[in-house]
Symmetry: C2
């Protein structure tokens, strides 16, 4: 659950039960002298520059705020290694930080941990246009990776709304999903190699690994999604795909979620290799978006219970449009949707996407509770129905002074991923009590995941048992202990 508040609060105050581990050393002048001996002035930020420090302590959602007095911004893997070795030897706690766009409090300190920012490691290392292998420092901003590959007729196999800020290394550490997963698959398949600095300063690298390599356990996989708890990713090798030459989209209205699923099956079968997104929104999320996008004309004539945006991308505009038109006609004929439009041109394509991409900000205007979950497709929307019913029966949804504006669901049908947003006028203990643990228990009862793509971080640390078995959690703890025996890396989080 993410409560959005305009004012940041110290995490340590908001969660008084979490206490600073006493075996972590408090930074002193000896430590500072050491860091100054290996780093230049623009690679260290200390307490005196408090305004800049604040941005490293504060998370993207403004929900968590740490109290670090020291940010290190090394510009090489070797320096990261020296920093980690020193911190491990001296039991100084460290939080690795990428673009700090994380949504679960994973990338900011809780107490006085040192922030290790990868921001100064921002170089593209190499690109091989024949194989599509792209290698870069962890701190390369995703937008820059996209631009570089775009200029070389390729695309980065993942895109996110936070592309202007998030780092490639942070995305890998989070195992982010994003908008292209349906087409290009997950990072576990696309990451070819990683360069990682371990808590003791050792560098473990598979960055020169090739597309196929069957020489032993695939260790790099553990760092994908580890949120910086067992090592600091400093370099990434990833498989870039050929850049599509044509994009198109349709936007349609559908009366129930069973038909949404039927349409998805049809799209997989008929659009097949050119299908690149299949997104859904419920009536409530679109109603809020219509209010939010006041000046834009809604693309459909009528209102429906569900809306679906289908994107195609391929190498031949004429072929793609033929396929999409045939799909549209036959879906209308089979009454799979009540109403649908196809983008007339690229501007129209962008406009249709605006109706999907504006749902999250439209639901956030008044603040809200946000959940990111994955479920079997047949159960995907049921969590939204169950939660809405529960809140409605308690008489909490409606016009002011009721506290809840709307409870809505939207997300990625192709990935079985729903975002549940409860838009509120005011945060109340009553709403919270109705939501938790109900939502997590509901997801557990359907064998779903309580975090589809946002991760665990500080936020869901105590909730893993809703999605993972005791034995899995025990093995995860063993992994943490093995790689980070002193527990200095990103403490108080994850596992």
């Amino acid at each position: 659950m993410t409560i959005q508040t305009p004012v940041a609060q110290l995490t340590a105050e908001a969660y008084p039960k979490v206490t600073r581990k006493t075996d972590f050393k408090v930074i002193d002048s000896t430590d500072l002298n050491y860091f100054h001996s290996i780093l230049s002035n623009d690679e260290i930020l200390e307490a005196q520059s408090s305004e800049e420090l604040a941005s490293f302590n504060q998370d993207w959602m403004k929900k968590y705020r740490g109290q670090s007095h020291l940010v290190l911004l090394p510009n090489s893997t070797e320096k990261v290694s020296k920093i980690m070795k020193y911190c491990n030897d001296n039991k100084l706690a460290v939080v690795p930080q990428g673009g700090n766009t994380d949504l679960v409090g994973a990338s900011v300190p809780v107490f006085d941990e040192i922030v290790l920012s990868l921001r100064n490691m921002n170089k593209v290392r190499s690109f091989d246009p024949v194989s599509g292998t792209f290698k870069c420092d962890a701190g390369v901003v995703m937008r820059d990776a996209h631009q570089f590959l775009h200029d070389h007729d390729h695309i980065f196999p993942l895109d996110l709304p936070s592309r202007n800020n998030c780092h490639v290394g942070g995305v890998v550490s989070t195992n982010a999903g994003g908008l292209n997963l349906l087409r290009y698959g997950s990072l576990h398949g696309n990451v070819l190699g990683l360069e990682v600095v371990l808590p003791n300063g050792e560098i473990i690298s598979s960055i020169n690994a090739l597309r196929k390599d069957n020489t032993g356990y695939d260790l790099k996989q553990l760092f994908i999604g580890a949120e910086g708890t067992i090592g600091v990713i400093t370099g990434v090798s990833i498989l870039a795909a050929a850049k599509p030459k044509a994009f198109n989209a349709i936007f349609c209205g559908i009366e129930n979620f069973d038909i949404v699923q039927d349409l998805f099956v049809k799209a997989k079968s008929e659009l097949s290799e050119i299908l690149s997104a299949f997104e859904f929104m419920d009536r409530g999320s679109v109603e809020m978006t219509i209010d939010y996008l006041k000046d834009m004309t809604f693309p459909l004539q009528n209102h429906h219970n569900f809306y679906v945006l289908i994107e195609t991308s391929g190498s031949n505009k004429k072929h793609d449009d033929e396929k999409l038109n045939a799909f549209l006609s036959s879906a209308l004929e089979s009454k799979l949707f009540s109403e649908g439009v196809i983008a007339k041109d690229h501007a129209d394509y962008e406009r249709l996407w605006t109706w999907r991409k504006s749902v999250p900000p439209a639901c956030n205007i008044n603040g809200g509770y946000k959940y990111d979950m994955s479920l079997q497709l047949k159960d995907l929307y049921s969590v939204c129905e169950a939660v809405t019913k529960r809140l409605d029966e308690a008489g909490l949804i409606g016009d002011a002074p009721k506290p809840i504006v709307k409870s809505v669901g939207y997300g990625h049908v192709g990935d079985g991923n729903i975002h549940l947003n409860i838009a509120v006028r005011v945060f109340t203990k009553e709403i919270e009590g109705l939501l938790e643990p109900f939502v997590y228990e509901y997801i557990a009862s359907k064998k779903g995941s309580i975090s589809a793509e946002h991760g665990v971080g500080f936020h869901k640390k105590g909730h893993l048992h809703y999605s993972r078995s005791d034995i899995e959690i025990r093995f995860m703890k063993d992994v943490k202990k093995h790689y980070d025996p002193n527990g200095i890396l990103n403490p108080y989080k994850y596992i």
Copy 2:
């Protein structure tokens, strides 16, 4: 290196330096009584049925032969769990075995290890046509998985020449690559969840996991490619793709490997989403295949230094053929190849594939040394050139009585994977001395992998350092020790 010999030899005799670990218990009547108490008669094979036992001791290449007197073939995960717990408690060594089509001696015993065959766990568990999630027992034969999914308008995302024998669980344990990797990606991306029995009998399962799940370290990844050394995979959940409606292929002759790479870049750009295979063969491998396929007419008029087979698969035959024809014309115009043909119909498509699929048997008639490696594409063919030059300079290649018929290379351009085959009239120490460690050192110097898709097994156990760093090997050993502290699972192999 794989030496193919027509007669099987006891591994223990062929490798006298490998000795039986004395802390493993020798099976006695108490053990047999226990296994009989939990298994029915058709789930146990003992010494008396020696002929059937032999097939479990003998590997696919007839290079390795073990001496097991006991094969257990449990039909449920619970029985696998009981077996493993008992074996762990009693220090009985165990070799998990799937279809036993492995090429590196991973799936047969070395001494008297118990063979744990997954053959009786052969049920499809479920298929969800909406999400494409396919769940099955580990012992389902890949051909049956393909057939099941074919009947449900989907395809298994991986295919292998050994599809009639290999098991789904074995394929995952080997992290097999196969013929569709270029299109559908690796098992690390496609496997959604695994059910695994650990050496101590505990069951760790993520088989209900969904396409997106970011709740902690992705532990299942370690078992993909672990070759049964840290757990026994008993169930697999995998993402099936929609079945393509159209297939086509072109076969062409090319004069040098630089142009092969140029053609690959062009194919990725122009065929893009319908490109599903890009295979190459050198002149020598095709010459041997022409001899092997005596009665078949070679599809091209002239001979060339390289041959490429390009496959497309998609959802619209007319669109695909248009793309492929345009590609063929423009590649001919740009002189990217000297000669090329496109399949006229499905039978012709199958015939073109025969010229690629027959290369391995054509190179094996006289026996041979086989290497499976991956390299950066620019270096891919250079290993074949370097090895051939070395053998030729030693005067070993040519007509009888020279020992070597031909040294040839072929493989998957799309995956950076070359198979180097030295077809011989006779195996000699001189050839072996020229090949090793030269081949491994060459691969190491180019930062390639000494095993692209076949794995490590018994065969490459001592060679990992050519592709992996000391720290990686140390961490791999730690993984093994952690999951299998008694070392009972698939001993003498891997790491």
